[in-house]
Symmetry: C2
Subunit: 229 residues, 2 copies
């Protein structure tokens, strides 16, 4: 059986985790490793490249490869579309548009998205329900200057997230997670008590250097974002 890059990767990783190759130590170069594993250099290269991407080792031309002193830990969270998230839990999905107002972009929004003074915006408030229970509150602003056709979309029927996904499928995003307390209207919508701690995801989206949308997604109390790594 041939030696695969996965074999090499697993073996190197085990040598690191069991202490044979301690943090900071120099790892043999690709040519030597290829010899010892009896495989091509490309195979070793792929194994090492992936370990480097995962923050386990650090590679530099000429300097060689070292085991990271403090491994860089990264958590990856999937950011699903709410509807998919709810359906995947086996619950029934329902969406409601609460408010939809076209207006000049307020100062704080212009500041945040770096919009010109005359920018127009569409302000949407929506709710997403799972089996009839409030799941997520969506407070969204869409930059009508960058995306004028949003003005004529019927957000009664299609959730803004999904409309935007079809309008601009790929974009640059800044995402921010934090805790805040539910004020009156939020508490009403989420069916919780005023002052309850809620988990909020704030997202700003750009498409080709143009700010497109800013959204605050707030979840019912108790919501968790979970992952493994």
């Amino acid at each position: 059986m041939k030696v695969t890059y996965k074999d090499v990767k697993a073996d190197i990783l085990s040598k690191i985790t069991n202490g044979q190759w301690p943090p900071g130590s120099l790892v043999a170069n690709e040519v030597d490793l290829a010899m010892t594993y009896g495989c091509a250099r490309a195979t070793v290269n792929r194994a090492m490249r992936e370990l480097a991407e995962e923050g386990i080792i650090e590679r530099r031309r000429k300097a060689g490869t070292r085991v990271r002193m403090t491994p860089i830990r990264q958590a990856r969270f999937d950011i699903p579309v709410v509807r998919d998230e709810i359906i995947q839990k086996g619950a029934a999905y329902r969406y409601t548009l609460l408010s939809c107002i076209s207006q000049p972009a307020p100062d704080w929004l212009r500041a945040r998205l770096d919009l010109p003074a005359e920018a127009k915006a569409l302000h949407l408030i929506c709710m997403h329900y799972a089996d009839g229970v409030p799941y997520e509150h969506e407070d969204r602003w869409i930059n009508l200057t960058a995306l004028p056709k949003a003005a004529s979309a019927s957000f009664e029927e299609i959730a803004p997230t999904e409309w935007l996904l079809s309008a601009i499928p790929f974009s640059e995003v800044e995402i921010s997670l934090f805790a805040r307390s539910a004020e009156k209207s939020l508490a009403d919508y989420l069916d919780c008590t005023v002052g309850d701690p809620v988990f909020t995801v704030e997202r700003s989206t750009w498409w080709r250097e143009n700010a497109v949308t800013y959204v605050r997604l707030t979840y019912r109390p108790g919501h968790r974002l979970t992952t493994r790594y």
Copy 2:
């Protein structure tokens, strides 16, 4: 100049983002693409593999490659060591051990980490300060059965995170983010008001199938976890 995998990747991505290859559409196979780009198949393969990893396209043997209907967006957050995080902000770091008790693992912990009935645990409570201001509250349990030498570590001087990092540099982690409200003691330590919404990171760590530690890191009100993708 030779065609690089980055060229190919960028070109494919642009064809997707500008709508030439809409969501759901079938992408030409690797051999054909290699011909049109005038490069080796391996080059196309690497470009496509990365796009697939990034959730832009979906690949299946025989079925071919498709542009994802709803691109899987993944946010990656760096999980830094608190001390590094604070120092990088240009603030002075200070650490305090508030409590350190060795005791039988409570039921909820045994349930969570799947520990045997007789498991012993070390319960630590610590604070991390930035420029003297409360930054993070740490409530940690270490499984002494899996990691007996933790009993003799001097957590007065070294923070558990850092001690653990040297004891078990690489591990399997489950992480969970949520909002909760500060109860009395937490509010005291974080210098905030009881009931304030606080952001909490909960982490369970395994090393070679053995649960090692469970920790709740709670940040002062207003803390945000931010990233771009």
